[in-house]
């Protein structure tokens, strides 16, 4: 399991799926899976900033960083380090 993967999966399950745990592959697109839309992205950003005490900059708001569980974990690791 990647660093922070458990927390991210838990957040996605609780926030977007009303507690239903998903077996979404790490590299599956959250947009394409219909889990996250534009407002959902704002909720995700808000969670990352508050939970991990980071600031997500405008130029970091791209699918590479936020659209897959693997991408979010990698982005988080980079930001925290």
């Amino acid at each position: 399991m990647m660093e922070h993967e458990h927390e991210i999966r838990k957040f996605i399950a609780e926030k977007f799926l009303f507690g239903e745990h998903n077996k979404l592959p790490r590299d599956a697109s959250l947009l394409e899976a219909g889990i996250v839309d534009s407002t959902g992205v704002l909720e995700l950003i808000s969670y990352l900033e508050e939970q991990f005490n980071i600031k997500v900059n405008d130029d970091e708001l791209v699918p590479k960083n936020l659209d897959t569980i693997a991408g979010i974990c990698a982005f988080l690791s980079k930001k925290i380090s």
Binding site: S38, T39, V41, I45, S46, L61, L66
Partner: protein, 340 residues
């Protein structure tokens, strides 16, 4: 030599005479046989969509059976009242001006809006002006991000990306405007036993650019199948005033002037029309790109954004979801009964 698009330049051409007959016939038929109402109420803003809708209603049932409601508020553009009066007078319909500012004040809209903007722009207050803008649709940016643009009383401009709570607070407060206007339209509809005509064009209807139970509410939507370009063609064909046809398309929602392209579509309505038409008719990204003079990557991003907006705004179109169907009240059944 530049490559030429195989798409004909008059892609969105319509037979205006036939279209007018089709729409006005359908309005008349729907009023008499489905809705059982005696006339129509239209909220008129002085914009192209509400003006064409009002004109179509007049063509369908006559000027004496159409009421135009003018509903400006403190943040409306200066020409809103004048242009809405112009179209009402041009059509010869009764116009009812109602300034909705006191209603918005009573409900706390202005305070709620200012407070939400202040979270992003410290110091923002009543003497400032502002608008909300969307990020550009590009190949590497799949998300629609919203920013507030604010102008201070001394002319300083500030642009800040909106965080979740501010964004939601601004949307929730601003939606009061559309819902209050619709409440008034239904007041007059009830008063005269009329129906309410909604004014969305195809771009707005398809992409969910409306407020649920606000401007999305209506008994009939006469131009929801027409691309914006076609709405302009009908306006010219019907000889509507040039001042209305030439007015810059605006949301008329925020205190700073704001085009629909800034708030929702990110590109002009002409380009959005062609991209939506292209996508609906299976035209390739490459062909549409040559037609609209944008790089293929940009058109591809717009195609994807169309799908994302359809998904995100699907709930706006839904009637309340029932857990178990009530077959006796199914909408298609009622329509069949009414139309024989």
């Amino acid at each position: 030599m530049n490559a030429k698009s195989p798409i004909p330049p008059d892609l969105l051409e319509i037979d205006c005479d036939k279209e007018l007959a089709k729409i006005s016939g359908a309005i008349k038929n729907t009023l008499g046989r489905v809705l059982h109402k005696r006339g129509l109420v239209v909220g008129i803003s002085g914009g192209i969509d509400s003006s064409v809708t009002a004109a179509l209603c007049v063509k369908a049932v006559g000027k004496d059976k159409v009421i135009g409601l003018q509903m400006p508020e403190r943040h409306s553009a200066e020409d809103t009242l004048g242009l809405s009066a112009l179209i009402a007078d041009h059509l010869g319909i009764r116009k009812v001006p109602i300034d909705i500012t006191p209603i918005l004040e009573a409900i706390g809209y202005y305070e709620k809006y200012d407070e939400a903007v202040r979270a992003a722009v410290p110091g923002y207050g009543r003497d400032w002006k502002s608008k909300i803008v969307v990020s550009d649709i590009s190949e590497d940016r799949a998300y629609t991000l919203f920013s507030v643009v604010a102008a201070s009383p001394d002319g300083r401009m500030v642009k800040e990306r909106l965080e979740l709570s501010s964004y939601l607070a601004i949307v929730a407060a601003t939606n009061f405007k559309q819902r209050i206007r619709k409440m008034l339209e239904y007041y007059y509809a009830d008063l005269y036993n009329y129906a309410v005509a909604g004014t969305p064009n195809r771009l707005e209807f398809d992409q969910g650019f409306f407020v649920k139970l606000g401007d999305g509410a209506a008994d009939i939507k006469p131009i929801a199948h027409l691309y914006k370009t076609q709405v302009y063609k009908l306006a010219r064909y019907m000889g509507l005033p040039e001042a209305i046809i030439n007015r810059f398309p605006t949301t008329d929602t925020y205190s700073l002037p704001q085009g629909q392209d800034e708030f929702f579509f990110s590109v002009s309505s002409e380009v959005m029309d062609l991209c939506l038409y292209g996508k609906n008719h299976g035209l390739s990204v490459e062909d549409v790109s040559l037609h609209v003079h944008l790089p293929p990557g940009r058109v591809s991003a717009i195609y994807q954004d169309i799908d994302r907006k359809r998904t995100a705004t699907r709930y706006l179109h839904l009637a309340p979801v029932l857990i178990t169907e009530v077959p006796e009240i199914a909408q298609d059944l009622m329509m069949k009964k009414d139309l024989g």
